[in-house]
Subunit: 256 residues, 2 copies
């Protein structure tokens, strides 16, 4: 894999990360190949295992093919903040690869399937094909926006608004990679994890979910959530979909 003569598997262009990238940039067959060549290997991680550990170096990018994970920080006061949920198509190792030592940990919430790319290989690719450097910026900016929304939620949205916003954002992200359809989604984690993401206590998150249910905004069955009144939810959560521009293609450099 990644070796010069290895054939590119058919499944590569269906990889959720590749699909996500192709939404934001023009990927020619040479680009698919370049990206493939930079993959060092494939791996599986079992549920509950930490793949990135706070305080230790981590110098690779992992493209999530399947499964869920969470980036989190344990504080000295004993509390935990989930910084974000990592879904298929997401990258693990950002921001870790840019730091001497990781500041956050990443734990698998389910069995994970990943493709591994050493950060150095990716940087080399950026020097050969600058659009991949721009792609990295785009990914980082996307994370930056999710982070900002997360700050807004924990800072100035009450629990109801917070949960509504969380569900809508999660749904949108899952839908892009084909893990949700039709106003239905499945929570990829326990309420304990989600509470730590939202900065709420478990009982209060549970009650808030129940309130949204009795108010007729959602329906729940176990971890299955269905949006009953999507517009009302968007209003409540002040939700705005992500509207990233596309990455200008190389031709742009010459023609513009």
């Amino acid at each position: 894999m990644g070796s010069f003569y290895a054939p590119i598997p058919e499944s590569w262009k269906d990889h959720p990360f590749v699909k996500r990238l192709s939404q934001y940039m023009d990927l020619g067959s040479a680009d698919y190949e370049s990206l493939w060549r930079v993959i060092e290997g494939e791996t599986k991680v079992e549920k509950r295992k930490d793949l990135v550990v706070d305080g230790y170096g981590y110098r690779k990018l992992c493209f999530v093919e399947d499964g869920f994970a969470a980036r989190y920080k344990l504080l000295r006061n004993g509390k935990r903040q989930i910084i974000n949920l990592i879904l298929p198509g997401d990258v693990i190792g950002l921001p870790g690869s840019f730091l001497e030592r990781a500041r956050y940990s990443v734990i698998a919430l389910s069995p994970l399937k990943l493709h591994i790319c050493p950060i150095n290989s990716y940087v080399q690719l950026c020097y050969q094909k600058p659009q991949f450097g721009l792609a990295l910026s785009w990914l980082a900016v996307q994370e930056m926006i999710l982070g900002a929304e997360h700050t807004i939620s924990t800072g100035r949205r009450n629990p109801e608004e917070r949960v509504a916003h969380f569900l809508l954002e999660l749904y949108s992200r899952l839908k892009i990679v084909g893990r949700a359809v039709n106003s239905r989604l499945e929570l990829p984690a326990s309420q304990e994890i989600i509470s730590d993401a939202l900065g709420l206590s478990v009982p209060h998150f549970n009650r808030t979910l129940a309130k949204l249910r009795t108010d007729g905004l959602i329906a729940t069955k176990g971890r299955q959530i269905e949006f009953i009144d999507h517009p009302a939810l968007e209003l409540l959560g002040n939700y705005q979909p992500l509207n990233l521009t596309r990455i200008p293609s190389p031709h742009f450099a010459a023609t513009n």
Copy 2:
């Protein structure tokens, strides 16, 4: 300015943004020049003016030479969250330039001096010199980390921890661009703004500052803050300095 024959002013390499970049990458004189060529103009913005407006397009990067600003979001529930403080050396227009329409506004907290670079010019530069694409990723990752810490603060730090962390982070950022020394800094904004950044009410932020003062951790005189017990503050706020790696230089692509 930016025109082919215009000389590069001496002051350019002292620009706080350039100085900040040079911390993370090797900048040869050709690079200083490339960066200068991409600047379209210089401008001043008066205090209280919004330079980026939520909902409107914004397709440029502004490098802050002097002054302070804040990126914020106004919610339908009437509350405001300051997403981050923008200091000399920071970039305005990230993430705005990557979005069809900006999601956040940016307001000047003091008179601002900026250098303007159209986003398209910067993208062209990235295709000519890929290290600038990587630099953009580095900047975005840095914002992403600040955003994550902000989420942790509003989500799982109590007001005392939150304020301690805020002061330390602000001090560190100001120090890098020579706006703070010797465990002393000046708050770049009113308590109302800072409260909205920390997700606290003004009275409670005020009381928390007072508590840190009476506990002997800081001293205050107007907006001047002095750290009396720096280690204790770092412990309280669970503060960890940013430890970004340097951007691999172009040679790296060939030699590694």
